[in-house]
């Protein structure tokens, strides 16, 4: 899933519509023609127009829903690659790196025989298992991550036009910040699609953990805030709820995202730029993917195919991609310089000091033991086919930070339950991976052995 806006930057060597003509026509929703940030303090809201900052270096920016976008892209990619003898395969889980004498020579798959390759481009997203197996990325520090949650809210196109005062060809982006999140660092967003809205939050993961925040409650705090009532009215239908991790490229982007024949692009390599409150990811992934391809073509034509990774890295730096992802200093002020309040706001979101992850439950060892010995859990323990999360070693954090779990809430992955037996009361955490949205949060905050489900078995977003 995505938030999601996709950008085409004027300074970038590649844009998605340059590579796939017709992209905007077939795969996107509305363009962002107006951009606002709302600073909320109690019942008071101060709104700033940041369209100018948004338009800087922006050729265009459109809202997208990934189901529609990816379906269209998949057809294009399959058609183009099929002509060259390749093709796009889905419902296959790439589960590891194929090595010979320690060197990466391809990938292994759950559903297919190993595939040898001259160059492996891992574009397998924020939870890339290949990047972790190669030791190029890790799931260690909550400080390096944001967690995004999103609701797609149904709204007919005419209603959007009327309520936002726009035409079919226009769209808006709104950001929300302030005290509606009880001190959890981050903010909210609203983007207009053709006949729906994307409304969500992006928070610093360590802050969610520290504040023991229930992320669903924070989304509700936004959805039910009076500032949104002007657009949502009294009732609205939620089409889909989704979540994902967002790497903070300033800390997480690997400056040398390759090893042997493996190169990382996009989220897999932490290439997600938080430019103040504006988050740009897909555009950098597009550029990185194209640069990786360029690097391989050049390497092969020079008879040095093994130099593709090095060439890719050089291009990321030469083309300025890495400097955007990992700037020497955070350049929020320049992006939003027209308004001091907005600048301070953004800086606060970025630069607040971050506390170390604390262990919330003193008796967690005892609790875990109980959890592992529960007969209910025994039947829920993961096998290789469908469930794919082990029990967390730090249960408290997982329950609150997991976007589909909550204490006293019956529908999530981890349920904190009080079980009564023989007059005794025990607290156990139960695991049920059925509602898992595969965001990977538990792998970072609670050290679960999270891994992707088998091909075609995982969560399927209808909107994305």
């Amino acid at each position: 899933m995505t938030g999601g806006l996709i950008y085409a930057e004027e300074s970038a060597p590649y844009t998605i519509d340059g590579i796939f003509p017709g992209f905007r026509e077939h795969a996107t929703e509305r363009p962002v023609t107006d951009y606002y940030i709302h600073n909320i303090a109690g019942e008071q809201v101060r709104t700033f127009d940041i369209t100018e900052g948004h338009e800087r270096d922006t050729e265009w920016a459109d809202a997208v829903l990934r189901r529609k976008m990816d379906s269209w892209m998949a057809e294009q990619v399959h058609e183009i690659t099929r002509e060259a003898g390749g093709g796009l395969l889905t419902e296959v889980k790439v589960n590891g790196l194929l090595r010979e004498d320690g060197e990466i020579i391809g990938v292994t798959c759950e559903e297919l025989d190993p595939i040898k390759a001259d160059f492996v481009v891992a574009a397998d997203g924020v939870n890339s298992e290949l990047a972790r197996e190669a030791g190029l990325m890790d799931w260690e520090e909550p400080e390096e991550w944001f967690q995004g949650v999103k609701a797609v809210v149904d709204m007919p196109g005419d209603a959007i036009n009327e309520r936002f005062g726009i035409t079919d060809e226009e769209g808006e982006a709104h950001l929300f910040s302030g005290d509606l999140y009880d001190g959890v660092r981050g903010g909210g967003f609203l983007y207009t699609n053709q006949d729906s809205l994307c409304i969500g939050n992006v928070f610093h993961l360590d802050s969610i953990v520290e504040e023991e925040a229930e992320v669903q409650d924070l989304l509700d705090a936004l959805l039910t805030h009076p500032v949104l009532a002007q657009w949502l009215g009294e009732e609205y239908d939620e089409r889909e709820y989704s979540a994902k991790l967002v790497p903070d490229s300033k800390k997480a982007a690997n400056p040398s995202p390759h090893q042997g024949r493996l190169a990382l692009v996009g989220d897999a390599g932490g290439q997600m730029q938080a430019q103040g409150p504006i988050i740009k990811g897909m555009n950098h992934a597009v550029t990185a993917g194209a640069l990786a391809a360029e690097a391989f073509v050049e390497a092969r034509s020079r008879g040095e195919p093994d130099s593709a990774g090095e060439r890719y890295e050089r291009r990321l730096h030469d083309e300025g991609v890495m400097d955007k992802l990992r700037p020497t200093r955070y350049e929020v002020a320049s992006a939003l310089s027209e308004n001091d309040t907005a600048t301070r706001l953004a800086e606060r979101a970025l630069d607040s000091s971050v506390g170390r992850l604390g262990v919330r439950m003193a008796d967690r060892a005892g609790l875990l033991e109980t959890a592992y010995s529960s007969p209910y859990l025994a039947t829920m323990m993961p096998d290789t086919k469908t469930p794919y999360v082990t029990l967390p070693t730090i249960i408290g954090e997982a329950v609150t930070a997991c976007p589909v779990s909550a204490e006293d809430f019956g529908g999530g992955c981890y349920r904190d339950e009080t079980v009564q037996s023989n007059g005794d009361e025990k607290r156990v955490v139960s695991l049920d991976t059925q509602p898992c949205v595969e965001c990977g949060t538990c792998a970072i905050v609670a050290d679960t052995q999270w891994e992707h489900p088998s091909g075609g078995k995982g969560v399927e977003f209808r909107e994305g």
């Binding site: 399959h78 099929r82 390749g86 093709g87 395969l89 296959v92 559903e111 297919l112 025989d113 595939i115």
Partner: protein
């Protein structure tokens, strides 16, 4: 490499679909016709062969003209190139023997002579499992039944199969036969596509067949007994030595237990329940030890 899959339309025996008259006899006119569910094993085996070895694939069936939907379903399932229907009033009421003669003749008449013929694992209506082997007997080809894995060596003109001995999953033997040959897949057959190239071929075939299946009648060849040069005395009802004397409905098993519904708020009723359960509570440990 050319393969043919034999399929049959049968009454849809699923609950709610099948209709019986007062005497418990099947009302064929009121029961929809679907592809014999057991033919899916043959179709899957044939598809795997096509994906791995290429070539063409035909589907053949004997039945009334209304079999179009069955053939279309078969075409979509197996990504067939063309369809053959052996259809004629003279062929009506054939038993397995007459059907086998007709199918074998149809196979011989094909311009593109098959290397492999795949037959289903018995039909849902007759449950005999005879027709495929009998058709094979008419052609004097080798037959491999209860196949759970299949590999073709086109250069050698052989087929190698793993099969269940006596239909038993515990015992598997590997056999080899020259082509042309008959293959009867066992329900245990699981097609595997472990190569990226095979999956891409499947994807191509799926896209290609979707279009073809929409106009499946353009790819349908219908032959009657005259086309097949068959003597009416040896086909249809006249050519069928099997005599079905009668069909008896299986009586419903009588219920052996009595059930009483007790409202949990009914104190007296619940008291009786506990009373009735009491002897079992004492014997719990024994029961657990069983």
């Amino acid at each position: 490499m050319h393969s043919v899959v034999l399929t049959k339309g049968v009454p849809d025996f699923r609950e709610g679909q099948v209709a019986f008259d007062e005497d418990g006899h099947l009302e064929r006119g009121n029961t929809p016709t679907v592809m014999n569910p057991n033919d899916k094993h043959a179709l899957r085996t044939a598809l795997q062969t096509k994906v791995r070895h290429g070539g063409t694939l035909s589907v053949m069936s004997m039945g009334p003209p209304g079999y179009g939907d069955v053939l279309r379903e078969a075409m979509e399932t197996v990504y067939a190139d063309d369809l053959y229907l052996l259809s004629d009033r003279e062929l009506a009421a054939s038993d397995t023997w007459a059907t086998a003669i007709t199918l074998a003749t149809g196979l011989q008449k094909m311009e593109n002579q098959p290397d492999l013929v795949f037959a289903g694992f018995k039909t849902a209506d007759g449950e005999t499992g005879h027709t495929g082997p009998q058709a094979c007997w008419c052609l004097d080809w080798p037959i491999i039944t209860h196949v759970v894995a299949l590999d073709v060596d086109e250069d050698e003109g052989t087929v190698r199969a793993k099969r269940l001995v006596e239909g038993d999953i515990e015992e598997i033997e590997t056999v080899e036969a020259p082509t042309p040959a008959f293959i009867v897949a066992d329900p245990e057959f699981e097609p595997t596509y472990r190569k990226a190239a095979h999956r891409l071929t499947l994807k191509d075939l799926r896209a290609e067949t979707k279009e073809r299946a929409e106009n499946h009648e353009e790819h349908l060849t219908t032959w009657d007994h005259a086309d097949l040069n068959l003597d009416p005395d040896y086909i249809g009802l006249d050519g069928s030595p099997t005599i079905v004397s009668s069909v008896d409905p299986i009586p419903k098993a009588p219920a052996e237990r009595e059930a009483t519904v007790v409202d949990p708020d009914d104190g007296e009723g619940m008291g009786e329940v506990f009373e009735a359960m009491e002897p079992f509570a004492d014997g719990r440990s024994e029961a657990a030890g069983d």
